[in-house]
Amino acid sequence: MQVAAMHFKRKAAENLGNEKLQRALEKLQTKFVDGRAAAIAELPNFEDIRDAAAEIRERAISNLDRYLLRFEREATARGAVVHWAETAEDVNRIVAEIAAKHGVQRIVKSKSMVSEECGLNDALEARGLSVLETDLGEYILQLAHEPPSHIVAPVVHKTKEDIADLFEDKHHRPRTTQIAELCREAREILRPGFLAADMGISGANFIIAETGSVLIVTNEGNGRLSTTLPRVHVAVTGIEKVVPTLEDVSTLLRLLPRSATGQSITNYVSVLTGTKGGDDADGAEHFHIILLDNGRSRLLGTELQPILRCIRCGACMNHCPVYQNIGGHAYGWVYPGPMGSVLTPSFVGLANALDLPNASTFCGQCAVVCPVKIPLPDLMRDLRNRQVERHLRPWQERAALRVWSWLAQRPALYALGARIAARLLRLFAGGKKRLRHLPGASGWTNERDIPAPAGRTFRDLYRSGRHT
């Protein structure tokens, strides 16, 4: 997918003024935030499970090569073919080669953020293959030629009226804004696509080293259809998704749906191992698993390693005051919200996503709700540090900090400067408690007021207090 993270500020400002988007984003609060809280409250030992989940993910990441090799051995023994991909382009090439080898024409896809990372649909269509997204949200986005704005609820930015317009235009059926009817319409349009497809592409929520299995969670059933009906199944996933055992994945499944949508379990959890047996009446005959690196292994052994624990539940974005107000598209790549603010700069380069680690109030809510205890604010702070170290911040900011640092090392001068500034600002406020405009600082005062100083500095007040 094309990176547009450098346009963050402009896009965020536009989205703040987009009333329709603001109304759509409000639903996240009631459905996802409240839903998660209720679902977590059902687990009396939630914190124990969360500790265990973080430990499971950390253990897998710390021994990634060993678990991947065990996974590869088990998957291969069951007839799957494991491919390794360094980059997005490698994934696209490998999928195209598999399609060519098996004479594939029609492809159905269940939701996969890794395939979004690769821009897989465009790459396959460019090679003359037909690709049909089958997750309702992803299907709507495919019709609208838009990227997802949330990793779990990809069309959270659209209203039912938007979708009704789109369906009427593309399906040539009478317009309806009834949600149940819209869903049935999509089912009726997509069912023949499933039945005719010769390849199904899925992601993987986890891959299991013990058994060489790919695990997929879905609610709609499209994940099951895509991996059961076509004769070829290709699962595309990141190398970090491996977990050791079936028990480990059971622990993680107590947290993933609860953190994502407030469900105790998703409708379907499919654990897929190997190819169709000789007597089986259904199932894929060919099973290919593509393990993508694309920058992940470079995070190992660095301050950012904990982000590899991420299980893609989306709780950090649902609870983020920045995401809640600007939506996912402003982040400019596949992964929005706090996890995206760490992943995007790591994958596409720090210089291409300068605003993202700064798109946080550091309220810390993302770390509080993360089911695998990723210290997201610490990781964003680390990325900010790297920006400064590599001189990637704007020259005005660097110059201002240099002036401040020079002053701060000269206490007498600093005190004098502070005294002058406090008086000037007080004068400028003209007796009011708040400053609405400040020359040279419109970036701050356009969006919010600045409290007017008392007129005397803290050090002045402290000194006079001691003398009386």
Binding site: R70, W84, K160, E220, L300
Partner: protein, 216 residues
């Protein structure tokens, strides 16, 4: 070097030093994580949780009662009396109950699918279905109505218990282990839950075998 070798080399290089973890040993032990406390009556919990996730639930004392229960369920909802069922369930007398049952994997146009279940998980009210020649995966997926028959002795507390049973009865997992928790659903449009996305619109779970004769 190949992508595989490059990736594995980078991982090995970055790995923190220290005693190497014997992953095969860890996997062999497969220790459990913390389990949420569950009430004693698993059967009741299973029924409550399944209903909460929008499954319909019924009991039958014996397998012989199942076809009539299914027929009553279909009639009450004005659903077709034609069904497909797992080869494993072919021996039941569907015809006597007025159901025209075909024994095969499902196709796109089939309206009712009848399956068994390897286990029922009380914690979440979930069915565990294994794919196989006698138990095709499409029967629980393509039709708009899915009817699942689970033996009472196969209701277990947790997913971990279900894995233990699988390890006891199978050397390796079948091609597909599908956990099913109610009718398919989507909340993609305005985060509003709608039942019946790509899979069944309704799921009836029949728990069989409390051994008691039932008042008629």
């Amino acid at each position: 070097m190949s992508a595989r070798e490059n990736i594995l080399a980078r991982i090995a290089q970055a790995r923190s030093p220290g005693a190497p973890v014997d992953v095969d040993e860890v996997i062999h032990r497969h220790p459990r994580g913390p389990i949420p406390p569950l009430e004693k009556n698993l059967l009741q919990r299973f029924g409550e949780q399944a209903t909460r996730l929008a499954s319909d639930a019924a009991d039958a004392a014996t397998m012989g009662e199942v076809p009539n229960l299914v027929a009553a369920y279909l009639r009450a909802r004005h659903l077709p009396m034609q069904a497909i069922c797992w080869p494993a369930l072919a021996a039941l007398d569907w015809r006597a109950a007025g159901i025209e049952a075909q024994v095969r994997a499902a196709r796109g146009e089939d309206m009712v699918g009848i399956t068994g279940a390897f286990a029922g998980i009380a914690e979440t009210g979930t069915l565990m279905l294994l794919s196989g020649p006698q138990t095709p995966a499409t029967v629980s997926l393509l039709p708009e109505t899915h009817i699942a028959i689970v033996e009472k002795t196969r209701i277990v507390a947790t997913m971990e218990d279900a894995w233990d049973r699988l390890r006891a009865e199978y050397v390796t997992p079948p091609r597909a282990v599908n956990f099913v928790s109610g009718p398919s659903r989507t909340a993609d449009v305005e985060q509003t839950v709608t039942l019946g996305a790509h899979g069944p619109y309704r799921v009836l779970i029949i728990v069989v075998g409390d051994g008691q004769a039932r008042p008629t």
